[in-house]
Symmetry: C2
Subunit: 205 residues, 2 copies
Amino acid sequence: MNYPSETIANAVEQLSRFPGVGKKTALRLVLYLLRQNPEDVKRMSEAMNRLKTDVKYCEVCGNISDQPKCRICLSPRRDASVVCVVRDFQDIMAIENTGQYSGVYHVLGGVISPLEGIGPDEIRIAELIERVDKGEISEVLLALSANMEGDTTSFYIARKLETKPVKISAIARGISVGGELEYADEITLGRSIMQRIPYRSDSEF
Amino acid sequence: MNYPSETIANAVEQLSRFPGVGKKTALRLVLYLLRQNPEDVKRMSEAMNRLKTDVKYCEVCGNISDQPKCRICLSPRRDASVVCVVRDFQDIMAIENTGQYSGVYHVLGGVISPLEGIGPDEIRIAELIERVDKGEISEVLLALSANMEGDTTSFYIARKLETKPVKISAIARGISVGGELEYADEITLGRSIMQRIPYRSDSEF
């Protein structure tokens, strides 16, 4: 592409670093910015910079937070004896959006992945065990993705905690609500049969 | 959405101002930024800010430029007697990418659009006539989009220039190269028949 000026070429180059944004999309974003007020562009770029300067992590659970402790850990309405183990803060957002969970969280910051060179010491497993050892936790709910890395990490954590006086649970796997049986993959369908639950005619989401 | 911190919520809000970027995509961009080095994020945000501080417009043609005159107007290899009239600098980029044009440009900065309240005085038509009046231009090539606003603007400019000693041309409309006749819309096909050209067996793109 022949950009008319270095400033444009540089902005296209920089914005195309975003995931899923190619040169053409980046140029569209640049054209949008050119049409905005300087203050609006400044507000946008400052919001981006603040992500690296202002975002802190909760000293208890590792969730993203503006204060030393996150909103969830600080809330008196949350049951601090149940800890849900997740990979990232996005997983917390997803679970919070269900409105079905009232415990607290523990963010690992990743999952065990030998292929990517991530071992148990690279993620916040020691911190989880430390929290359990304080004796205030009665249940650890594993909520990692159902793939090889997630399963490995769940297995590793369960082994580490098996001698401790804490209940270990995992989120249910099965046919999604509203899902058609014939389109489910066989592993999911198999798991949902193996892990079948007592039928209750009044059970609702 | 329940964002874990104000900083995240604000960044999502700001990035979702980009055209075609919703809250979900903005969150993905935010997550990407969180994983980058502070310097990389800074480089990105500065490139955005510079769009409003460093981008200048060529004093001759109105193209975007880092210097007072743009690269094209400064080039000794361009034929300054042929002026191609375009709407925006993106159109210049598109034409330059063809490698088929060696004249110079005139950027209108918009097209006449009564619906949007844009009249002939809002765009750079007076500047074009001034350039023609200097007597150094032999041909004005109209290269505006083939829609109502573009056609209106071309018509207006042609009327303004008809008494001046300058040739007025327009880019050809017709079936696109490689295009199937049966899928062409009837207006395009009709125009390409009306404006037929002598056949040359050696004609190439």
